[in-house]
């Protein structure tokens, strides 16, 4: 018995190399006398391609109808209905991965890795909401986005968030976006997907901490409306930027604002801009100096941001599995004896040498160094523009939705007493 085990173990050792077993079939398939026919391995396909056309069709339809509902029909009721439908379909039924937010990473990786073919479907998902945003504002956030929808329906008692908190936290989506692109282009990780707080709820099951975070977001979201949308969503950063320059946008009033102030506090997301205080307009001249000063600071911020990020590149690169493993092996070669460390043991069993691994890791680290420079520079630019924008005074005479922040939810319509 003992001997047999040893022989078998020996066999295992000499044969389990991937090269050897690829070469010979140890036991040829028998010639059956009984006329036995082997069964087919059952390999069902993955939903048809038609389903993807259907999903893109649904998305376009949703975006178009929402644009019409928000700008022409002005109906919160219908928007709410569509939003619920989209939540059920894209969220709970298709289970959340038909998602333009995550598609950012696929598109980014497609640019950096020519062997990675992004499917046309994902590119369409990425582009459509942005194009609609340029034309009609953030109608995607209004109904089609399941992440937005699930937060929108739990809003019960929205509190005002102080403007400085709102504005500074509102920069985080840009940072998140920049980091997501960095991690995606280096082939390291899709952090947006990994930290999607609601996917666990849509699938009714995920790692425990993700469910907790998701429920936490919803609980907070009862009071701080749409917290993920406002302070995290990296795609929201793109939608915001495009929506600011949108061709058409919903308005609170169906015709002319009479400054009755009735809608003043109706937006749970603090997205209504108030008429400019005449006192502030008087001070416009003083602000010009500040404006110029901060504008001159932008290049400095870009350089500082780039420098700071790229000096953190070693730390950032650690998220890459190859780099991590190389560090581990170089720092502490004794892990090689740790039989429980699956990654190390698999690596030792492969035909890659430590030198090769270290070379690969060094190359990845170098990509991180330059990539992190761009990431930092971008963050610096955003911070600079944010500072400068504090000194731009827009003269406004009426109450208007802020084009960057408005999610086209339609709640404010009913507060306006003006008839068409």
């Amino acid at each position: 018995m003992r001997l047999k085990t040893t022989i078998l173990a020996f066999l295992l050792l000499i044969t389990s190399g991937p090269v050897l077993w690829a070469q010979q079939q140890r036991f040829p398939m028998p010639e059956f006398e009984s006329g036995y026919q082997y069964p087919d391995a059952k390999l069902p396909g993955s939903g048809s391609l038609a389903m993807e056309y259907f999903d893109v069709g649904i998305l376009v339809l949703l975006l178009a109808v929402t644009s019409w509902l928000a700008i022409k029909k002005r109906s919160r009721k219908w928007i709410l209905l569509l939003m619920t439908g989209a939540l059920l379909y894209f969220g709970f039924w298709r289970q959340g991965c038909i998602c333009p937010i995550g598609a950012v990473q696929n598109v980014a990786l497609g640019f950096s890795d020519p062997t990675y073919a992004v499917s046309w479907f994902i590119i369409a998902l990425f582009l459509l909401p942005l194009l609609f945003s340029l034309a009609f504002g953030r109608v995607f956030c209004g109904t089609a986005c399941p992440l937005g929808a699930i937060q929108d329906i739990v809003v019960v008692r929205p509190v005002r968030v102080p403007v400085w908190v709102r504005k500074s936290l509102g920069m985080f989506p840009f940072v998140y976006l920049a980091l997501a692109v960095l991690f995606a282009t280096t082939g390291t990780d899709f952090i947006i997907c990994r930290y999607d707080p609601f996917i666990g709820i849509f699938r009714m099951g995920a790692e425990f901490h993700l469910i907790v975070i998701g429920i936490g977001f919803l609980l907070v979201g009862m009071f701080v409306a749409r917290p993920y949308c406002r302070f995290f969503c990296p795609y929201g950063a793109l939608l915001k930027t495009t929506s600011i320059f949108s061709k058409n946008h919903l308005s609170i009033t169906p015709s002319q604002c009479i400054d009755c102030k009735l809608c003043k506090d109706s937006c749970p997301f603090d997205a209504i801009d108030h008429p400019t205080d005449p006192k502030v307009i008087g001070k416009m001249k003083d602000k010009t100096k500040h404006f110029l000063l901060y504008a001159a600071l932008i290049p400095l911020l870009i350089v500082v941001g780039g420098w700071a990020m790229s000096s953190a590149h070693i730390f950032l690169a650690r998220a890459n599995p190859d780099v991590y493993l190389a560090h581990l092996l170089v720092r502490d070669p004794s892990v090689m004896e740790d039989l429980d460390n699956l990654d190390v043991q698999t690596f030792l069993g492969s035909d890659r040498t430590v030198d090769e691994l270290v070379n690969d890791a060094t190359a990845i680290q170098a990509t991180f160094r330059s990539g992190a420079w761009f990431t930092g520079a971008f963050i610096g630019l955003v911070a600079g523009l944010f500072l400068v924008s504090q000194f731009v005074i827009r003269r406004r005479d009426d109450y208007q939705p802020n084009r960057g922040d408005c999610f086209s939810c339609g709640r404010c319509f009913k507060y306006c007493p003006v008839q068409k």
Binding site: S34, L43, V118
Partner: protein
Amino acid sequence: MERKKTKNRREFIRSSMRFGMVLALGGVGGLAFRNAAAGKSVWQIDPFKCTWCGRCATHCVLNPSAVKCVHAYEMCGYCDLCGGYLKVGHSDRSTAAENQLCPTAAINRKFIEEPYYEYVINEDLCIGCGKCAEGCTAFGNGSMFLQIKHDICVDCNECSIARVCPSDAIKRINGPDPYLMKGDFSEPA
């Protein structure tokens, strides 16, 4: 008069920015489309790279995992002493549970004719742990291997097993056939 001028200027800035952004999006989209794949792209395991580490059973977002053992019958030797079915050291070939390698007893052994046996995976029981595939590859023909079953997989944007696979065996593949089968004894090019 002055207000009107500001308004016009604002509108001008807005429309030029919009124009710029349409161009930028068009550029990004156009470049991305050039390299785009027409078919559906799905996650799949390269059976020649997989080392049956066991993470497929534990790291899928689904429980039980969307990864299942697939049996390529045309490669199978129909061995009586099946390395994928029996634990090493249990040569008495009894089908008693303690002799079976599979932790969930998901493999059915059926007598065909002397001395050949057919092994069929019961997918409802299989958890994708890969023990059978490892045994079959070590002692048999390697006709058992792991694949992501696409009737089960929800096609995560990033497969959470791919992220932790120590052999880097899980990739997105394109094309009409979403499986990487080990049909013959050559590695897929």
